[in-house]
């Protein structure tokens, strides 16, 4: 082994890559910066909002909050996936999550009809019941979320 190779390998060893070096850049920039006391966290805790396992433990309210207020993020995707797992379905026209309250009264190839629970995200931010609602399948968001 030549001296040059050995010397350069030492140089490479000195700057050994770590996992963080090849991670996607996480540029946390607060939307509304505000001077907070230094004993508060200054950046999101790693491993809390980017681990799918964590989303299983979140309250349903939290999931809805993340879904509507973190649009276009990985977090929104994880929230949607978890909601889907908990048998909520997204309505593409009303942009609202629905869940069957009981077995539908009617099921056809194009729609199903019955009583549903939906999440009122525009008004009171709560779950409401809707009877005799027709969920048309063409508005069902049904892409695979893996």
């Amino acid at each position: 082994v030549g001296f040059f190779a050995q010397q350069m390998l030492e140089a490479s060893y000195q700057f050994m890559p770590e996992a963080v070096d090849t991670e996607r850049p996480k540029n946390y920039a607060p939307k509304d910066p505000y001077p907070t006391p230094s004993y508060y966290p200054q950046a999101p805790m790693p491993g809390v909002f980017d681990s799918p396992a964590m989303f299983e433990k979140f309250d349903i309210d939290t999931l809805f909050f993340i879904f509507y207020y973190q649009q276009g993020t990985y977090q929104q995707y994880l929230a949607a996936r978890e909601l889907k797992k908990q048998s909520w379905r997204f309505h593409k026209k009303y942009l609202t999550w629905f869940q069957r309250h009981e077995e539908p009264k009617a099921i056809t190839d194009d729609y199903e009809q019955g009583t549903y629970i939906y999440f009122d995200y525009e008004g009171a931010w709560c779950q409401r019941k809707k009877t005799d609602f027709r969920f048309e399948y063409k508005f069902l968001e049904d892409s695979e979320l893996v």
Partner: protein, 534 residues
Amino acid sequence: AAKDIDNSVLREQLAFIFAEWIRVYQLPTSNDKDYGAFINSIQQQGVLKGEEISSLFFRVCTEMSVESYIKYKVTNTTAAYQGVDAFVKLIVTLVKHYSDPQGVNHSGAKVTYLTTLLSIIVLVLAQAHEQRRGQFNQKPFLRLFSGLLTEMMTSYESSPGMYFQILTAFSNTFHTLQPLVFPGFTYGWLSLISHRAFMPKLLLAENGKGWASFQKLLVCLFRFLIPFLVGGEMRDTTRALYKGTLRVLLVLLHDFPEFLCDYHFSFCDVIPHTCIQLRNLILSAFPRNMRLPDPFTPNLKVDLLAEIHQPPRVLSDYTSSLSVSMKSDVDTYLRTREHAAFLDNWQEILALDPNNQDLFSGGSKYNVPMINSLVLYVGVNGIAQLHASKSEDNGNSSSSSKDIGDANANRSSSSSSSQIAQTASMDIFQKLLTELDSEGRYLFLSAIANQLRYPNSHTHYFSRATQEKIKEQITRVLLERLIVNRPHPWGLLITFIELIKNPRYAFWDHAFTRIDPDIEKLFDSVSRSVKRSA
């Protein structure tokens, strides 16, 4: 001198533009529209026009992002990477907006453009490697390539044709950056070739069309490793690199065992004999759809396994290390079996040509790749001959062999020990055993042991060939591959178990099994465990 001043003025202007880009990139409100607008504006300024200015611009960007990392890394890693990350985004945006000037093949033009950018980065890396020497820091370059891999994956994975071209461009770049040429980039390079947005993507490309390129990269890695591993004492640097290599191989063994199977020959050619576990990892790979019978099953009849008639797939060109004249000599002998002078001169023929320094022999005086090629070539021909001679016999007795189908075909190709013993191929092996000195014989037996893998016709053939002549060295080659930690290749276990269980070999009557109390204890424990499982 005037030109130099021009150049430094120009550099300053370009640096200013890049600094402006970093600012745009960092604004939390920026989106793809803003990025596009920025690209348009620098296009209008003529920065991207003409190869000379645009290459200088990318050079300046690379240098600046690397320098800003070096400057800020002490205080804050994420902030230090801002220049590099911004440059990644710039490249991705530029490639996205790039179109073929002739308007014919846009995706092809984008790939060519990316390739040009990659080569500029390589150039800057080479310069830093040369100038900074012991102070060379691989991290910003690693970050740059890693970021590009990830971004290219998210942008182009959905168009497989173009994505494969992109991966190939990266593969070529990594080949240029291999540790033998840039030892200061070694660990970064290993992270890149095993990157989650590179290795699995390349290996998953349809029809295995990325396999050959990845094989080349792995061979580069082994070639670099060899001289560090053969020289006794291990440094921390070597240990770290070896451990990293083991992990990459474990991932491959788990996710892409067929890849390791198909190229096992190329890898065994470059892995030194001291690296038993590394080689065992490769030799233990077997196709995922296969179920291996437990080698400890009592009365296991290997002859009855359907798989042992199937030849394994070998994608390596295993005849390339044989000279044309040698190959024709061997071919002639295999056909005619007439006495040939070359059989008595193995020691000379297989010795390493002292003028050929390109060969990585692992400190041996022998041409190891040539031995490996010879053994596999002769063996494959031996199997073919057995098959042919058997079919001939059957052809005479039954003209309707087709009706009997598989059963007949299987019987005709099965290579039992006694049949193998009388073939031309076996003459060559016997000669090698007697003519070579102990080092040569060791390499020869190792080449045979490299074929003892999952159930297939090679494993079966070479397993029988090994047992023809029992010698201390055979035992050594087999044993040293079994006393290391798992995994152990299936065929190796089968061969060894046969050796100690079959009374025909009178294994325990040999003096060398009792020569040393430690060895005796070792054999006792191995045989006990074999008997217990049986």
